[in-house]
């Protein structure tokens, strides 16, 4: 469905937001993971035809969207990072506005979308009074109102409480059937349960693109757990790549990743968080690890 061929985005200052990135995806939920500054947002903006790549092509159903962006825009739903609203409009008016921009004329569709995100009860309230979670739900409603084939969602759970984040994940999981959803985040748990494939970026490049199971397999044998004293933990924090640390009466229970343990530790079954941390620190930067 979506093919990205050697896409780069070079900024005026000479730095690259995205460097020579290629990938191909069909349908499902693709988690785009990476630390802050990895280039996730830049990549998503290029796919969403907001900004043009400096080089490379982006093909959607074989059509080069850098040359014919409207071919994609008709079938696109996009929720940017830090999505804002017009405070003085009601939810219905706000959604109707974007529906009109996307060519959706049905008022019924607007009400259906508000119902699907559980905002029908506040349809006539001004969105300036909405909570962060409500605004994000309104954001996803506008992204889905034209029944898009490709949905791009950029860090949608930032600032949401745990309950809202779970709710959001469920919504994205549901819409992933038959569509392509690209969800970018630096929070592994956002994609853990819903992503069919995960792409990991670092410094503008694609480190790997694989299923969660494959990523976990790659990480096998490189995840360790140990119990250390508090004083030792403070020192180890600077030398080990620690993925979690829990203080208990018998000491600090740590999980860390690495090719081999540098302290007395036992092998642990990897989780996605570990795989991500391992890739960030030990994965190759020039060849994807699959």
């Amino acid at each position: 469905m979506l093919t990205i061929e050697n896409v780069s985005k070079k900024f005026r200052a000479g730095n690259y937001g995205v460097r020579d990135l290629s990938l191909e995806v069909k349908s499902g939920v693709i988690g785009l993971l990476g630390p802050n500054g990895a280039g996730k947002t830049t990549l998503m903006q290029m796919i969403a035809t907001i900004t043009r790549p400096t080089s490379g092509r982006i093909l959607f159903h074989g059509v080069d969207v850098t040359k014919r962006p409207n071919e994609l825009r008709r079938k696109l739903g996009y929720l940017p990072q830090d999505f804002g609203v017009y405070d003085n409009l009601t939810a219905t008016e706000f959604l109707s506005y974007f529906a009109a921009l996307k060519g959706v004329r049905s008022k019924q569709r607007v009400m259906e979308m508000l119902e699907s995100v559980n905002l029908h009860g506040v349809a006539n309230r001004t969105v300036g009074g909405f909570s962060g979670g409500m605004k994000q739900r309104l954001g996803i409603a506008q992204a889905l109102i034209n029944d898009p084939e490709l949905v791009i969602v950029d860090e949608p759970t930032a600032g949401l409480d745990p309950e809202e984040r779970v709710r959001f994940r469920n919504v994205l999981s549901e819409i992933g059937f038959g569509k392509l959803v690209i969800l970018s985040t630096h929070i592994v748990s956002d994609v853990e349960s819903i992503a069919t494939e995960i792409a990991v970026m670092k410094n503008g490049a694609l480190l790997t693109m694989a299923t969660p199971e494959t990523m976990l397999r790659v990480c096998e044998g490189h995840v360790w757990q140990a119990v250390v004293a508090s004083e030792q933990f403070d020192q180890l924090r600077t030398t080990l790549k620690i993925s979690s640390a829990v203080r208990k009466p018998d000491g600090v229970h740590i999980r860390f990743v690495g090719p081999s343990p540098e302290i007395a530790a036992t092998a642990a079954e990897p989780e996605l968080e570990d795989a991500f941390l391992y890739l960030m620190n030990f994965g190759p930067t020039d060849q994807p690890v699959v």
């Binding site: 804002g84 409009l89 060519g103």
Partner: protein, 522 residues
């Protein structure tokens, strides 16, 4: 085609709702209507709205329609631009523009929608103003209302200004280096140049006919038609002295003569050519190109100039902050006042310039400029927390949550008195009344800026309202003591001081009430 029209309609509709649901819009409208009342002097004062060969024009639909229509046109031209010139920027900041850019919406549709949105807003504003002026005519007029004559004056004067300002706002917002404060300054000079060109031509008996096609303001048309209708060049509009021994004259109003049809049509339609130019420059919310629009960082030219003066302003801030140590409420006032210098080092430059110039130049010449600069500076104080998103942090500080309005009033007053220190010292020699008038004027500016800032969170509300008022005051040249709110021309009386003092108190009271109600709701 239909989809295109629906998209444009959606953009216009959204803009219209957003603007007219703002408190600031209502306030600006009320202020403008109040100024219309002030703009038209009562004949008993010896002054009239229109004076022709020493005779005053009777307050009929033609005269009042022309007078208020020209005020509406001045508002549109001088201030309307600043009111509407954030339509695209709003979409950048809210990131709704980025979403719009991901839809099949074309850039041309978007810009047309924004232009029509600007047009609809200004036209509605002017229509509302026209209706309130007609009500005023019913109250203060000296002849029965002739609605068609009244409306005709507005139709002849304001449409080209509305179209021109609407199109220019879209154009400037589309060009990155004109989208910010430089555009605001450039616009002012463009407007004044156009006015000067046209008025100058008509004053020299209209020998350069092509300038009539640039008569977006309608001033040239107004001057020419009045001279032809009244067969004289001795005309003045706006609070002019008249000879009470001469009989009043009936002014039938402006009408469109044949030689003006084409120029008025051209001045109405030619601004539309700015829209395709805007489309060439429009960024379509590409984040790389909108970074400048959102004013992030110090890359824009004003930011760079501010950075040049940062070392100096840092020293000034360190000095100002001395009394703020100790964590008291007064200390918090000093801190907030000092923040203005930190955020805008150019304020320090303004302070130095005002101080130096005040030592030498005549007070009557510099006070209006000082107050215009003061208004621009203090308008930020009561609005910056809401705009920066720091309201929550501020309200968590003890004493500031309940006393927010007094805190802002205190820091605005402190900043105002710091900036006006030199003029105040010089005014001492002019007597206690002059000093009291100046102090009252400063407090009036501080209290209204604070009240409007707390209420609307938009500095433009105060700036537009105050500068409109300031324009009327400056052009009055002290003839009407009740307008001399700060003693610019030495005409302020005890009554003037009492009136503006009372307005200041009422304004801050209203601001405090509004804040309390909003606080109780959260």
């Amino acid at each position: 085609m239909i989809a295109s029209l629906l998209r444009v309609r959606a953009i216009v509709g959204a803009d219209f709702r957003i603007r007219f649901r703002r408190v600031s819009t209502v306030i600006v409208f009320l202020l403008l209507s109040a100024f219309a009342y002030v703009w038209i002097p009562a004949p008993s004062t010896g002054r009239a709205l229109i004076q022709i060969n020493g005779q005053r024009a009777i307050y009929n639909s033609g005269a009042i329609g022309l007078g208020t229509g020209s005020l509406g046109m001045i508002f549109v031209g001088l201030f309307g631009y600043y009111v509407i010139s954030n339509a695209i920027r709003r979409d950048v900041i809210t990131r709704c523009g980025v979403v719009a850019a991901s839809t099949p919406m074309r850039s041309g549709e978007y810009l047309l929608g924004k232009f029509l949105g600007n047009l609809a807003f200004l036209a509605t504003f002017v229509c509302g103003f026209m209706l309130s002026s007609m009500v005023m005519l019913a109250v203060r007029g000296e002849a029965r209302i002739e609605p068609l004559v009244f409306i005709e004056q507005y139709l002849l004067l304001t449409p080209s200004a509305i179209v021109f300002v609407s199109a220019l706002a879209v154009l400037f917002e589309s060009i990155p280096w004109l989208a910010g404060k430089l555009g605001d300054v450039v616009y002012f000079f463009v407007w004044m140049t156009v006015v000067g060109l046209v008025v100058g031509n008509e004053a020299s008996h209209g020998s350069i006919h092509w300038t009539r096609c640039l008569d977006f303001t309608g001033f040239g048309f107004m001057i020419d038609q009045m001279q032809r209708t009244l067969q004289t060049h001795s005309i003045s509009i706006g609070a002019s002295d008249f000879d009470p021994t001469k009989a009043p004259i009936l002014f039938p109003g402006l009408s469109l003569t044949r030689e003006w049809v084409l120029p008025r049509l051209i001045s109405l339609l030619s601004p539309l050519t700015l829209l395709p130019i805007a489309a060439l420059f429009f960024h379509r919310f590409d984040p790389v190109r909108t970074r400048r629009v959102s004013g992030k960082g110090s890359r824009n030219w004003i930011g760079r100039i501010q950075n040049l003066f940062k070392p100096l302003s840092r020293r000034a801030v360190a000095f100002i902050m001395i009394p703020s140590r100790g964590g008291s409420f007064v200390g918090a006032i000093w801190t907030d006042a000092a923040l203005t210098f930190t955020l805008f080092p150019l304020v320090f430059v303004a302070f130095v310039a005002i101080t130096v110039v005040s030592l030498f130049a005549p007070l009557a010449a510099i006070l209006p400029i000082v107050f215009a600069v003061l208004a621009l500076i203090v308008s930020d104080v009561a609005t910056r927390d809401a705009r920066a998103g720091t309201t929550g942090s501020v309200r968590s500080i003890s004493r500031l949550r309940e006393n927010y309005v007094w805190w802002k009033l205190g820091s605005t007053c402190l900043l105002s008195f710091l900036l006006c220190a030199a003029p105040l010292i010089r005014t001492v020699v002019h007597g206690s009344l002059a000093l009291a008038a100046l102090i009252c004027g400063i407090l009036f500016v501080a209290s209204t800026a604070t009240a409007l800032g707390v209420t609307t969170s938009n500095p433009k509300t105060f700036i537009v309202g105050f500068l409109t008022f300031w324009y009327v005051v400056v052009n009055d040249h002290g003839m009407n003591p009740m307008l001399d709110f700060a003693g610019f021309d030495g005409g302020a009386s005890g009554t003037t001081i009492a009136v503006y003092g009372s307005i200041g108190v009422l304004a801050i009271g209203a601001g405090q009430l509004f804040y309390r109600v909003r606080l109780a709701r959260t």
